[in-house]
């Protein structure tokens, strides 16, 4: 149980216990435990290579874990018999490189999952897709091919592609890292709006201002383990740990001294 922004206690949606992951001899995640509550927005930050992307990828089965367990609504999803096809409909993911399918229009990209995986009707899927496209400001683009869109537009469409499956939780893996600066805002605004509407999300990002605005809790990962978990205001103004302080200092610049 945790206290959220609005002060309401809510259930644990995703329960991560003692997660371990290594690539060969390299340990990437040592012993990672975290509870994500329904409606909560968790922002994961940390230096490059700290394991935060790997952590996200473990959550929807793109990486196999070597130890520990993950439970979604109490059901173990790290067992060998996990039906990832089912789980992935509940745990959506948006990637850094906004990989829309280039051989399909925006609308086809969005309806593929609902129609082929969830067996929803084509009409209903298209209608929902249009509504969601309008919500992210892409109403005019349903028949465009990905190559005709800007990076920011592609990423917004990719968010809708995850959203349309009605997932319980959405994972965002550095979704603005590959974007030109002027397009970062439009994507972050969409995520911010989703957060306000109550979506549960785990966001990996390097955008500190955004993290501060959107997070219910900030999780700081370094060296494959959670070093600190704090509410955003506390984390950014008064971090508990020395490692977090050092990391945050990298984003500060001293003013150039004026010559006498």
């Amino acid at each position: 149980m945790a206290e959220l922004r609005c002060g309401i206690l809510s259930d644990v949606l995703l329960e991560i216990k003692h997660l371990k992951k290594s690539f060969g001899d390299t340990e990437v995640l040592r012993d990672l435990s975290l509870d994500v509550h329904t409606g909560e927005v968790i922002v994961v930050i940390g230096p490059s290579g700290c394991g935060k992307s790997t952590f996200l990828r473990c959550l929807n089965g793109l990486e196999k874990v070597q130890g520990g367990e993950i439970r979604l609504k109490g059901n173990l999803i790290t067992g060998s018999k996990t039906d990832w096809q089912k789980v992935r409909q509940q745990i959506g993911m948006v990637f850094q490189s906004y990989d829309l399918f280039p051989n399909m229009t925006v609308l086809q990209n969005l309806t593929l999952g609902p129609v082929k995986v969830q067996k929803r009707s084509r009409e209903e899927a298209a209608e929902t897709a249009r509504k969601l496209l309008a919500r992210v400001g892409l109403a005019e683009k349903e028949n465009a091919f990905p190559r005709e869109l800007s990076g920011g537009q592609k990423q917004r469409a990719a968010i809708v592609r995850a959203l349309i499956l009605n997932p319980e939780i959405i994972l965002f893996d550095e979704v603005t890292a590959a974007l030109d600066p002027e397009m970062v805002r439009e994507v972050l605004d969409v995520i911010l709006e989703l957060a306000k509407s109550g979506s549960t999300m785990v966001i990996v990002t390097h955008e500190m201002q955004f993290a501060r605005a959107v997070a219910d809790r900030v999780v700081f990962i370094d060296g494959g383990e959670i070093v600190e978990t704090s509410p955003p205001e506390e984390f950014f103004t008064n971090p508990k740990t020395e490692r977090a302080r050092k990391f945050l200092n990298m984003f500060q610049f001293d003013k150039r001294k004026e010559e006498p």
Partner: protein, 219 residues
């Protein structure tokens, strides 16, 4: 130049060209099917089948079509399996072409980014759905130039069919030379016949390739 000869025997070439084209068409269609199955097996890394496919591809690519045809035409009857010349040609072409088509498919599949696969997985697609909706459509467009080259290559390879008594273009030419010694005329007609068959295919494939380049996917 014996113009009368040309006039008289052109119909024979046309007939032979028809046969060549028919067998080539069936053989090439089959080789697409064989190639597709092989590349899917390799892509899905299905155990055992994958090793068999690997062995087949090496065997098929590293032996001449003529040897493969002899094996079918003279070898199989010894096992009690009689195969007609035509069937021999079709099977031989599919056997040879299958491996080349598999490689063409593979080059297309290899060109697909891992992130495309992961995006597909992340919306819950199964492996087969991933192949059908994401991998193949993208792979095919990349593979088209290789497909076109293979088609032309396989049609040219049909010229060895005469060795298993199939009355294709080459067979007719050799026959006429043997009968009348009109070597120049017979070979001239042969060259023309192959050009008439292959030039249009070559031109069409160039146009398709250019179109694909223009409409190229780009994420």
């Amino acid at each position: 130049m014996d113009w009368l000869f040309l006039q008289k025997y052109t119909p024979m070439y046309i007939e032979a060209a028809g046969l060549t084209l028919r067998i080539a068409a069936i053989g090439i269609l089959l080789s697409f099917a064989v190639g597709l199955v092989c590349s899917v097996v390799q892509q899905l890394k299905i155990p055992v089948l994958r090793q068999i496919v690997g062995g087949y591809i090496e065997l098929s690519r590293n032996t001449p079509l003529l040897v493969q045809l002899f094996f079918l035409y003279f070898g199989f009857p010894r096992l009690g399996i009689m195969i007609s010349s035509e069937l021999c040609g079709i099977i031989g072409l599919a056997f040879l072409g299958g491996s080349y088509m598999a490689e063409a498919f593979r080059s297309g599949i290899d060109s697909i980014e891992q992130t495309q696969i992961e995006s597909g997985l992340s919306i819950g697609l199964s492996k087969m759905q991933l192949i059908r909706y994401i991998v193949l459509p993208q792979a095919v467009s990349v593979s088209v130039p290789a497909f076109c080259a293979n088609i032309i290559f396989l049609i040219k390879e049909t010229s060895v069919f005469s060795a298993v008594a199939l009355a294709d273009l080459m067979y007719v030419a050799k026959d006429l030379i043997g009968l009348y010694y009109n070597t120049n005329e017979a070979l001239l007609l042969l060259v023309i016949a192959y050009l008439v068959l292959l030039l249009p295919i070559s031109v069409v494939s160039t146009i398709i390739e250019r179109r694909l380049r223009h409409a190229r996917f780009g994420n």
